[in-house]
Symmetry: D2
Subunit: 369 residues, 4 copies
């Protein structure tokens, strides 16, 4: 089955492996007339680029995007936008050993089980490089969302157990420190922890948080296509993500109805607001017009230099130490991937939501004729 295509109306079809010719994505269904340049995409790709500081892999990857179709005179034409990044920094020899055994925490074993063999160079399709396609598509989705007035803010909420403080929350700080935290003090503590883990040849995990402002109410569909379910699927499709929660999430499971319900009130101007947002801005799977908040649990980088047990293809129990250029932490580079997947889900659900009401549909076509 085809697993590399996301969405229904706003679609992203990604391709490419770690050590093939390149990686890319075809975005189909983007409305015509959106101003779009390679710079718009590059800005997002640069946020996931490795080699930017001492906690990210020292591989130098330029990851320069080319737009191959779908943009004419600076605007999207409504037809597929093909984008591509050539692979330039592959050193296949680094990975030759991997062919013979299964790395713990990776997809080596399951790919072999599924397909009978695998492109073992750098993890092939299961490599983190696959996310380049997501981010390029997400950049287009973000531009579309901005036109509608939707803003997404994503950051590391917790790394290696060190959590940000709401009191010190500073949005500007996110892009300033190497761990993408909106809290300079927490970021500093995290950096110290990462130094320690680097020395121990180990890795850490963390939690990414995403806040979405300006989303109209009424987005999301009842039952199976809830906005929450689609955001969840989008985020859980990212390689290292092991959990997803909306609003209070797992904490809500320990709460009581009287504490967890978000009660409504009416403002002077007649607008309906809530006293709290435990629900994360989605009720019955449909946005209520307030801020959407969700979190993703990211596991520690599975590639570690520390000695690990595993088996090789001859069925022998062996011990390995994974060499090569690996991040001691995935979280900071995954922040823009989470943002991109959220943007893809939102763009799709927004367009899907346009046909909910007869009066709006009739008005739409009457205005066109």
């Amino acid at each position: 089955m085809s697993g590399s295509i996301y969405g229904t109306l706003f679609r992203a079809s990604t391709w490419g492996e770690s050590h093939g010719a390149g990686v890319g994505v075809v975005v189909d269904g983007c409305p015509a007339g959106l101003s779009l340049s390679e710079g718009d995409i590059q800005k997002y790709l640069d946020r996931r680029k490795p080699g930017q500081n001492r906690f990210a892999t020292p591989r130098k990857e330029d990851d320069t995007v080319e737009i191959l179709s779908g943009v004419f005179e600076g605007r999207t034409t409504g037809t597929p936008i093909s984008m591509m990044v050539y692979n330039t920094s592959q050193r296949s020899k680094d990975y030759s050993e991997i062919a013979s055994y299964y790395r713990p925490g990776h997809a080596d074993y399951t790919y072999d089980e599924k397909y009978g063999f695998r492109d073992y160079r750098g993890g092939g399709r299961s490599s983190g490089r696959e996310t380049i396609g997501r981010v390029a598509a997400g950049a287009v989705a973000c531009k579309l969302l901005q036109e509608i007035g939707v803003e997404i803010v994503t950051y590391s909420r917790k790394i290696g157990g060190i959590e940000i403080s709401e009191d010190r929350f500073d949005k500007e700080e996110i892009l300033r420190n190497p761990v993408c935290m909106p809290d300079a003090q927490a970021a500093e503590q995290v950096e110290e922890l990462l130094e320690e883990k680097l020395r121990e040849h180990d890795s850490v995990g963390g939690v990414i948080e995403c806040r979405i402002c300006g989303l109209p109410s009424g987005i999301g569909e009842p039952v199976f296509e809830k906005l929450s379910a689609n955001l969840g699927k989008a985020i859980l499709s990212i390689g290292a993500v092991k959990g997803f929660e909306l609003g209070d999430g797992f904490a809500a499971a320990d709460s009581f109805g009287s504490a967890n319900n978000d009660s409504f009130y009416c403002e002077e101007d007649g607008r309906i607001k809530k006293h709290s947002n435990h629900g994360g801005g989605i009720y019955g799977g449909i946005s209520d017009g307030s801020e959407i908040v969700f979190r993703a649990a990211v596991k520690p980088t599975p590639s570690i230099a520390k000695l690990q047990k595993t088996v090789n293809k001859s069925g022998q129990n062996i011990e390995i130490s994974i060499k090569g250029r690996h991040d001691p932490i995935i979280v900071p580079r995954a922040v823009v991937v989470v943002e991109s997947m959220a943007a893809l889900a939102l763009a799709d659900m927004l367009l899907l939501g346009m046909s909910a009401r007869l009066d709006a549909v009739v008005a739409f076509f009457r205005d066109r004729m």
Copy 2:
């Protein structure tokens, strides 16, 4: 957009509101030749039936299912299986007041925002009765999974902060106590808590855990259609679910690579196993043949008799106390809903996974000709 249809190959199309003629589902894509009777479905529906004990709403609902199509001489024909339950216990007058205001924690407000009006009787389509369609379809999926050798066990892991002990885990206990816990002692404590919350006119939430055995390796698709992502979407599409985690989930975010990686070893007979299962049986989105473990966070019942603030349709700030017949806890009745959604996701992904390898595809058609 159509939000009430689940799946790609194994599809469930659900319909019905709390106070309409009935609720039902059409299952399309079930392989032909599966032995199926109304008794097979009823068994699952009875697990979500209200009125079974003092912690569930005292509404008496028979919820007797009828199979209207797709079964001939006791076996599925490969064509759509239409199943229906008539609504018999609605008391619309109970809900007349609801029409005028928005219940906190419910979808009243968002449905109005999306559609311009709503069927306010008992929550209409956003009512828990909607899950009857899911469970009827899930029962068919479960029968199919059993034929393939897949078994699903689902239970309450935690309610109101009280968690089961792994030491006292007893599968048989799940269907024995009213809170669906595999630990009689924890169940007893929960019952005491629920008595207390009933007196306080409040409600509690909890965590449901699901374990899947016998799933072949190689199920799930790379990138966007990971098994984890599809399980996540299926579970997050259930009304009260606010979080989903696979394996160690959010705890993995606080762990280290050396502790979180599941290392492989080879058994005497050559079979490859893992020393641990922090990953929950899915790597790169693909099953590894071991047990799949996931959890869902369920929020407290939003309908509580306790006084709550809200607004009415005239824009006035009011206080309400929700009367009627409501459960102080959703979790036990949601257990079978979680199991049903997991079954739907697994059935679909299994069938989708049949075309992964050329040799298997060629052998399949050669055997048929």
Copy 3:
């Protein structure tokens, strides 16, 4: 795989066999606020009802539709509309013989090959009764299209080789004669032919034509989701349809570019028109705002009383004469089925077309906020 669900945004999920409990359909994705009653649906179902004249099967089927969900206080709620017709006139014994052999021109053999067995009573799912679900869903789609200003006119263009004359075209005549022709004189000739064929225990085929007015320009998507391709699939999914053509269709294959091109001109008021409509109103798969014209070739009824060769399940070559109540012509009853499928395709493509332009999308959401 699931084959009984049509559409992407406006979806119809049909179910039911000739001799099961009933037949029905779930329509999901219809915009909220559409006025809808059982009478609206019944009007369309009555057009396909048998037993209305001597050329249609004398089976008396009431085919009374019930709406089971999705309509509240006379308007659609935006959630699934479940509709059902109980089977009341089945005489299973009529069909007992069929179980043992394969009727030529029917799906008996292919269903057995696909599924290993079949519900042989009246053709089961492959029976013409399956189209009740299409027509009920099509009636909803037609109501939606009318609100947008789209009108569909469908009729028999040719039966048994006798074709209507454009000069005598009278729309009102379509519902007046038993063969649904817009030409009273041709209808009379056809009636004579049918009398003859009834005497000969034979059957005839014909061509159905459909004209669509008021469809906005810009509907249909490039490449694979052309409006023409979607109309074609919808029509070719009807059991007895063996061909589909748009505009001049197969005649265009014999024409020359200079004759076949539809040249444009500008009216006094600035509106762009065409001198001809050989293309049938669709260019590059997208509607141009003019009339859409297509035709469907319908094969002769395969169930005939005349002696036919076939094989039985014991592998013997036998001769059969199909008894029971069968129409000598499918075409007139198929007219409303063609109209319904066209309506389903158009409704879906219209809603899908709402997100083509950024300016319209932005305006849509700005107006809502």
Copy 4:
């Protein structure tokens, strides 16, 4: 909406315009282990390449394909196969005039109506170059089909009214003459006609026929996903195709039941065969194991040098003569496009058909474990 993605399990996502950087396709869902090289693809692309003879546009286009992903050590990996052809022969200045008016018979007007503007260079996305993506994907599908034993033969059946004779049918002849006819004598007559039409600055249309051998019985799904409906949609999605018919098609509409029914007989060895194949090998939408036959009506090339009426963007009625390099006939180059689309439809339907029977599904997974 996204219109450039075909299929459910075997998917092709095409992109690119006539005068952009290139055109390409991402094939997702191809089973792993299929031997695949650029040469396999090039062979099919060469059949649609222009500049091969005097009836095809003299543009020299190399159309050399590159495989960018999804193939490792000569075999498909089960992950997306990205293929690309760079545009090398664009002369944008040729098309500069087109920006100001609407070419009759083209999609210029409808693209402007849909999207508000268009990439007017060479027709942009609506150009025939779009079919390169289809053919590259179709080549992969054909390789897969060959492994299963399915063979497709496609050819020009009729051009400019000149039809092949069944008596002179010679499969080898198809690739030998410039008009892809399996009848050398008819081909010669067609060549004379084309010379004449070239002199008259006019163009002709024709009919393409496709025969599929070796397809297993049981392929295709009931109701909406009939094999015939999916083949029809695939073929009708090709730009110049105006009609589709299966088996006897429109001729069946003029036939009688007794003549049109394909009666069964049993061979000595017990195999069930038919005395005729008026139905084209598909009953109830499902293949019966015999030859599938369908035809596509292709309109005359709309780009002609002959003077034509049209309007310009200033709303003036003007006369134009389309210059540049255009084919007087589309049919021969469209033959491989029809074959490719048939292959895409068949590959998808074959994979979709694997889950029809419980016994086959159970055996499939039992064999794997």
